[in-house]
């Protein structure tokens, strides 16, 4: 490489570059934007989307892709001019012909964006406002940059099935633009290769080998593909609808690597965790950090308030912190200092651990303070290991990488990247193991040699590399003092792998006491214990007083005298010391649940009550006071004969003693699969069919994307239904109640037909019923009938689910001898249904599509004024009826109001019981200048469209946004399961 910098000219500016840069790199550094869809920094240039085409002046081939053209001395390029923009526009339109684009070119875009804040949580994405990727969509940015307003190519919806059954993420390849980013990151960077391009030409898709579900492949569910996807194809299952708000840069606290993450929250609740691109992990994480944090953190099982044991009722919640701390004080004062023990959790932050140490030293004045190690074997040689190089960045350049007693694929999956990089850089990977465990398939891809050796021979093997320059070691557990000595003697770069996030840090602050605390408890020397993590309940029984500070209930918390609720790594600030001894910063990203407090805060508050105030006001405050104290690792466990440290495969995936898979059902699924293979998962309990079950489903099919036709047997409703009525459905015993308009009924076949749209959790559940199943319940007909007279000419407008909902009214209006004009609205012609039925029934059918693929281009009405206004121009309408989204209804009413046409709308408010009891469906209407409250269920659902307070109605629809987003975090209704378990017990008795 020449030391002199070369220069090139981009858009008339002279810019320096270094050898090996591509034109795109140079432009990026100079802050010049070149659009790309397929470029991934750090991976081989691909040149697939060709949007980064630039003009190279004076070259034989002037149009070259910036991402794959190396920068040359004196090169002169233009990144943006009319010719290039036109070319890119053409390319982009071709790409968009296979990606739903109606919303991108919709003239109504801005209004829609403003009013539709609560997104339809639809199954199939057919436009931006039903897309979970909306905020981070690269396609939208590029369409804006290229100013595309019209589509020249017809859009083709591929109608591929949704892939929703794998854990952690869902796939909708109907949105795929085949940029190949996911394939390349999976193969090139992560080295897993679970997915690849299948077939060719027009049929090309991305899939696993043999179209297997991901769980049956090598997929590690790291989420790299999800985070790199420029569209909404790959989305996290449980957090896909979370709006990425309030970003906080922090670190993951599950293992001792501490990858950098950005946590997002909504109304103080953790919503999404994404690996940080600017941190050392370069945007990479693993299944735990990426997909399990939110669910684990937001679990409903969390301990949220302090609890105290009472003689009468056992453990009861207590909301008064002062009162509870007074009780703790009273209890602790009963014991002499040497009768009190303190235990630190290896997941505590350095600051909390320091506060705890000070609490033991200054307040309790006890020497009995130690760290919980989940077993009796304590890993040795912390002090010695601190003297060698500890550098995560150096791993990939090692000549030899030794993996000792570690199954990193399960314990520290993010390090697999380094294993692959060592191989790519020509290094050697050697696995040494003192146990008889096979390496998993994926790991073994990069391992050159595997040895099963006795501890002594491992020492000998390490020493063989004495003269090799770059030796790195991934040191798993167990290991021996001799192994540590050998590592230190050859001066290797070592990364000790711990199962817990901050074992390094906590051990340094709280050295191991001479006698183990747990042993002292068993001896009866310690009578009262203040622990920040659960201990073995058998040992806990020996205590007179147990004060437990924890996040989840456990068998130990049931024995505790006082339980104090504390926080997770997402809710508290501080630092964690990682495997490379660097301090990973934690920043509180969300609110702690209810009354829980960070560990250091509880300790500080308790110290004040105890009379010796530590008075810490913040973590920085603690860090500052800790600065002046020299921290030393203890000598006690430096030299231990034999192998030490637990094999942490045994307690894989735990945080503060709680198994993560206990809270994250998907992780449990993955764990079972990896342990027992595919057969373990296929067992599904089939519910016994009750012969007398009612509400048999005759048909449930997806007629157009997201719209389902549901035909159910119910003789009573079929006899009684009238236009305008609705029914309330519960799919299963645990489902939400969903009100749906009855679209058709057949008293002779005893069936009713309903059209519904998948736009949330409960409708998703309903969409998955099959013919022959039975619905749990069906109530109807509810609501008032719409009185249909002979008005003359009537206009009936329907959008989305409204197309089905206007059908019975159209039928009745026709029977009364009206001239019926039907207006059907959709974003694309593929979304219009019941066309044949309406063509047969109505005198005139008008179509309006956002992208102009059928009928008028535009929306039903609004500023883009086609639809309703177009009809009003040419026809005299005597009565109008609209059903659709609230925006469509509101604006249609505005249009008819000008001509004072009587207008009726059918409202779809949030509704619970449907009988006027709960009031959830209330809305405001103006009658004689007065605002009056009405209930959509009993006073409606049809209302005069001109008297409704639309703004309030739209706001109320967004009322449960947080809950609607949250429900995807696969929680289980524990109230019901508990009830069932209890009733089973009673039966047994």
């Amino acid at each position: 490489m020449s030391s002199e910098k070369s220069t090139m000219i981009i858009d008339g500016k002279e810019i320096e570059f270094s050898e090996g840069d591509t034109v795109l790199d140079v432009a990026k550094k100079a802050g010049i934007y070149i659009p790309t869809l397929c470029h991934v920094e750090g991976l081989t240039p691909y040149g697939g989307c060709r949007l980064c085409t630039v003009k190279v002046l004076g070259d034989r081939k002037p149009f070259q892709t910036a991402c794959s053209s190396p920068a040359r001395q004196g090169m002169e390029i233009v990144t943006k001019d009319d010719e290039l923009q036109e070319m890119r526009r053409e390319l982009m339109q071709m790409i968009l012909s296979e990606h739903p684009n109606a919303c991108l070119v919709c003239a109504h875009k801005d209004t829609c964006e403003k009013l539709q804040d609560s997104r339809d949580k639809a199954g199939r994405v057919f436009g931006c406002f039903t897309c979970p990727n909306k905020e981070i969509c690269e396609i939208r940015d590029i369409v804006d940059y290229l100013e595309i307003e019209e589509m020249t190519y017809d859009f083709e919806y591929k109608n591929l099935p949704l892939e929703r059954n794998d854990p952690f993420f869902e796939r909708d390849y109907n949105l795929c633009i085949l940029c190949g980013k996911c394939v390349r990151i999976c193969n090139e960077l992560r080295g897993i290769g679970a997915i690849n391009f299948m077939n060719r030409g027009h049929d090309t898709t991305i899939s696993t080998g043999g179209d297997l579900p991901h769980i049956n492949t090598d997929c590690q569910f790291c989420g790299a593909c999800v985070d790199i996807c420029p569209t909404g194809v790959l989305t996290p299952k449980n957090t896909k609808w979370a709006i990425r708000d309030n970003p906080v840069k922090t670190s993951c606290g599950y293992c001792n690597i501490g990858c950098g993450f950005t946590f997002y929250s909504m109304k103080g609740e953790l919503m999404e965790t994404v690996p940080d691109k600017e941190e050392f992990n370069q945007g990479q994480g693993c299944v735990l950090g990426r997909f399990c944090t939110v669910e684990f953190n937001n679990s409903r099982d969390r301990i949220k308030t302090p609890h105290i044991k009472t003689d009468k009722h056992g453990l009861v919640p207590e909301s008064d912190w002062d009162k509870i701390l007074e009780i703790v004080k009273k209890e602790l004062k009963k014991y002499k200092p040497n009768e009190i023990g303190v235990l630190a959790s290896p997941d505590l932050t350095n600051e909390s651990a320091y506060a705890l140490k000070r609490f033991a030293d200054v307040v309790l004045k006890t020497k009995n303070i130690g760290t919980i190690t989940n077993g009796d074997a304590i890993p040795c040689g912390f002090k010695k290991l601190n003297t060698t190089t500890r550098d995560l960045g150096k791993l990939q350049n090692s000549e030899v990488l030794l993996v000792i007693n570690a199954n990193i694929q399960d314990t520290h999956p993010v390090l697999l990247i380094d294993l692959k990089k060592v191989k790519d850089n020509g290094g050697q990977v050697i696995a040494l193991s003192s146990q008889n465990t096979d390496l998993p398939d994926v790991t073994s891809r990069w391992v050159d040699e595997t040895y099963k050796l006795s501890p002594d021979k491992i020492v000998a093997k390490i020493k063989q590399f004495n003269n090799t320059e770059n030796v790195s070691i991934l040191l798993g557990q167990p290991y021996s003092t001799a192994i540590v000595d050998a590592i230190v003697s050859i001066g290797a770069n070592v990364i000790p792998l711990r199962s817990r996030a901050n074992l390094e840090g906590v051990y340094k602050i709280i050295p191991e006491p001479e006698t183990n605390i747990l042993n002292k408890i068993q001896n009866g020397e310690i009578k009262a214990l203040y622990t920040t993590e659960r201990i073995n309940p058998e040992i806990a029984k020996k205590l007179e007083f147990l004060l437990l500070q924890d996040i989840f209930p456990s068998n130990t918390s049931r024995l505790a005298d006082v339980v104090l609720p504390t926080t997770t790594f997402a809710e508290s600030s501080g630092t964690l010391t990682n495997a490379a001894l660097s301090k990973r910063k934690l920043n509180a990203a969300c609110k702690a649940p209810v009354l829980s407090k960070p560990d250091w805060k509880i300790i500080s508050d308790l110290s004040t009550v105890m009379g010796t105030a530590l008075s810490y006001s913040s973590v920085d405050n603690i860090a500052k006071s800790a600065e002046n104290v020299e921290l030393k690792n203890s000598d006690s466990n430096e030299n231990i004969a034999g192998m030490t440290g637990i094999d942490f495969n045994a307690n894989l995936y735990t945080y503060r003693g709680e198994s993560i898979s206990q809270q994250v059902t998907e992780l449990e699924r993955l764990k079972i699969y990896r342990k027992h293979g595919p057969s373990a998962l296929t067992e599904e309990k089939k519910e016994e069919k009750d012969e007398n079950a009612r509400f048999k489903v005759v048909e449930c099919v997806e007629i157009v994307p997201n719209m389902f036709k549901l035909v159910v047997e119910d003789p009573l409703i079929a006899k009684k239904a009238k236009p305008g009525n609705f029914a309330i459905i519960m799919t299963t015993e645990k489902s939400e109640r969903i009100p749906i308009t009855i679209s058709d009924w057949n008293p002779t076949e005893n069936t009713i037909t309903l059209y519904f749209q998948e736009r949330g959790y409960s409708t998703k559940e309903l969409s998955q019923v099959n013919a022959g199943d039975h619905l749990f319940s069906l109530v109807g007909p509810l609501g008032n009938d719409i009185e249909i007279k002979n008005w003359g000419t009537v206009l009936l407008g329907g959008g989305c689910y409204g197309q089905g909902a206007i059908y019975p009214v159209a039928k009745a209006a026709k029977e009364q001898g009206n001239k019926v004009i039907i207006l059907l609205e959709g974003r694309n012609k593929a979304l219009i249904y019941l066309r044949d039925e309406f063509e047969k029934l109505a005198d005139e059918v008008i179509y309006v599509t956002a992208d102009g693929s059928l009928g008028f281009k535009g929306t039903a009405c609004g500023k883009a004024a086609t639809g309703v206004q177009e009809v009003l121009k040419t026809q005299k309408i005597d009565w109008a009826f609209f059903v659709g989204c609230k925006v469509m209804m509101a604006e249609s009413c505005e249009a008819t109001e000008q001509d004072s046409i009587p207008t009726v709308v059918s409202l779809n408010t949030i509704m619970l019981d449907g009988t006027g009891m709960c009031g959830a469906c209330r809305l405001s209407v103006k009658i004689d200048g007065k605002t009056v409250t009405r209930f959509a269920c009993v006073d409606g659902p049809a209302f005069n469209g001109h008297i409704i307070d639309w703004e309030e109605l739209i706001n109320r629809a967004n009322l449960l946004d947080l809950q609607e987003t949250e429900v995807y975090q696969s929680h289980v209704c524990r109230a019901l399961s508990k009830h069932n378990a209890e009733s089973h017990k009673e039966e047994e008795l």
Partner: protein
């Protein structure tokens, strides 16, 4: 690996190991490897790809990616006689669609399928490169050109007769 090994017989493992032995020199060339497997089995069995994938440490998706790209590879077992009908421009103009329809009717299968008795597989391709004798069909590497419905009828009869003779001979 262990999972797959448990499921396929030792004989098959031996066969596959032989294939891998042959392939040793062409390492990295997935097409040749897939061709060797297809030559051995007549198609690409799922378990064979899984075995090879874990043995050579090539991701399974990569093998499938290559295999699905080329029309020459098949994932379903083929019949004893593979009837390939050309539907390229020249053959199409000269009535290939009629021949295909006739064959589909006679064999009672759709193009791309195999008869239940595993005797015939019907395939259509875009061009066989011998447009001069269009319309053309190929049965197990034997070319039949300048076809009419009548000729196809005769050819089919001949092949069926041959097939029944060979099964009788076996018995």
């Amino acid at each position: 690996m262990t999972e797959i090994v448990g499921k396929i017989s030792d004989v098959e493992i031996q066969d596959l190991d032989e294939i891998l032995e042959k392939h040793k020199e062409g390492k990295g060339n997935n097409v040749t490897l897939l061709q060797l497997i297809q030559n051995h089995y007549g198609y690409l069995p799922d378990y064979a790809l899984k075995y090879v994938s874990s043995k050579l440490k090539i991701p399974l998706a990569e093998l499938y990616g290559v295999a699905t790209f080329y029309a020459q590879f098949s994932f379903t077992e083929k019949g004893k006689y593979v009837v390939t009908c050309c539907d390229g421009t020249a053959c199409h103009v000269k009535g290939a669609p009629l021949l295909i329809e006739y064959l589909e009717d006679q064999l009672k299968i759709k193009s791309g399928e195999t008869t239940d008795d595993k005797l015939f597989t019907l395939e259509t391709v875009a061009c066989l490169g011998c447009c001069a004798i269009s319309p053309v069909i190929v049965i197990n590497d034997v070319y039949y050109g300048n076809l009419t419905l009548n000729k196809v009828k005769k050819i089919l009869k001949k092949v069926r007769k041959k097939a029944s003779e060979s099964t009788e001979a076996k018995e």
